[in-house]
Homo-oligomer: 265 residues x 2
Amino acid sequence: MGTTAKALSLLDHFSRARPAIGLSELARLAGHSKATCYRLMGELIDHGLAEQVPGGTDYRIGPAVLRLASLREAAVPMRDAALPVVQRLAVAVGETAHVSHLVAGRLVTLAFAYGAPSGMQVLMEDADVLPFHATSSGQAVLAFLPHARVDAILAGPLGAATPATLRDPDVVRARIAATRARGWASTEDTFESDVSSLAVPLFDAAGQVLGAMAVAAPSTRMKQAARGPILRRLVAAAAEVMGAWGGQAPAELIALWRGIERDQG
Amino acid sequence: MGTTAKALSLLDHFSRARPAIGLSELARLAGHSKATCYRLMGELIDHGLAEQVPGGTDYRIGPAVLRLASLREAAVPMRDAALPVVQRLAVAVGETAHVSHLVAGRLVTLAFAYGAPSGMQVLMEDADVLPFHATSSGQAVLAFLPHARVDAILAGPLGAATPATLRDPDVVRARIAATRARGWASTEDTFESDVSSLAVPLFDAAGQVLGAMAVAAPSTRMKQAARGPILRRLVAAAAEVMGAWGGQAPAELIALWRGIERDQG
DNA sequence: ACCGTTGGTTCATTATACGAACCGAACAGC
DNA sequence: GCTGTTCGGTTCGTATAATGAACCAACGGT
């Protein structure tokens, strides 16, 4: 592993639940020596990607990421383009909607919106990492990813805390095949109890999977009758986002989606 | 220089004006060999901090920075806290207002707002890097920075395109001393012709300079009579932002600002 | 067909990163 | 006050990983 990769992977240990980490703990988490972490964090700090909390010694993510994110969105406004669409989708179906983005082998929440200002809704947070095996978004992505990348992801550390039944490669592959055949993914009570969701994949201009768009609802409201309208609106919203991103779904998927739109037209 | 520092400094060559760069050009800009840049960019790409533009070979900033920025703002909501304040300030004075942040030795625009939806206003962009010597924000920061850091900054590459008169260390130090003595900085036609601005520094809880808040206006409107009201509102807004950030101005500066508030009460 | 440029790759040389051991400080239990 | 543990940070000889000149093949203009 390269030195730069080590340094950058240190940043992966920070999250909403763990916004600041001390040197010894970080060394333990990363599996490096304290000296190594100290030097690497020093380099990250020099460039503002990390900083020490004022008045303390813990480390946290630095302010330079704001500048980079601003430049990224100025160059490639994916979030800007997706957010209004998920907002309209959420309101239209009355449930939580979100778009996730496949980045460096992880599925990250890019934008989300709630369908109602009050009442019961599935809660989310930006920048969350979604497990592939237990979310409809993850399945939608896996279903349209090249086999090699699917294998790489399934071989990764995703399933350490996953029930064996879901980790079984045959089971996973069967779910993936079914998802690819019908053009959309669904889960019931797998990621979280009493939560059901529907998802469709999103593609770039070359037909590569970029992420997914999904609607998540309490299982009590996601009845069979409710799925048709939600799915149709979800497909339309996905097409809109892909249009804004300059993406293009594979021809076979477009045909499947046309069929969905016709159902109960 | 460490390997990680080299890799991260590659990201510094991307900007709004230059959102994508090819391998050879990047190697030329960074002063490394193509092989080195290729490897370093590869490591950045593995972590999503960079990516190759789909369908091409140029490199650009990657999507992982969005996740990091989201985590940063969740942990330390500096921009969230500053934005509404600058928006109110801009409307109150009818001119462009902005907050800049000192990160890794550079002064970066963190948030800004225009004072009117139409008519003549000083334009800005997020994530811009401000030159220390030619902006009121830069002078406000330099005036309250430890001498050692001032020297480090003035020795940096900031002044390559700067008129000699402004680069003269004695001149710079005189301006800094004057700014410190009165508690606020101002410029007229230095950064851009016909633009005048007023700025005050911002501090963290330990009394370290974090950045600056400023109001920029066309010189024709920034007359002597207009400065009093603008300065008073600027000081009040700066205090509000520092409160939200958990910061604290040095006692001597607070005294100076009290005097400003009393003038033409 | 030529020339200059591009993105990408190879490999022997060398500079860089590494971690065990160490330090002083802070803190808890006794 | 003493002891043991943990903390953030530092040192230094060793070993690993980074380096860039030279080299491809491919593309575009003349």
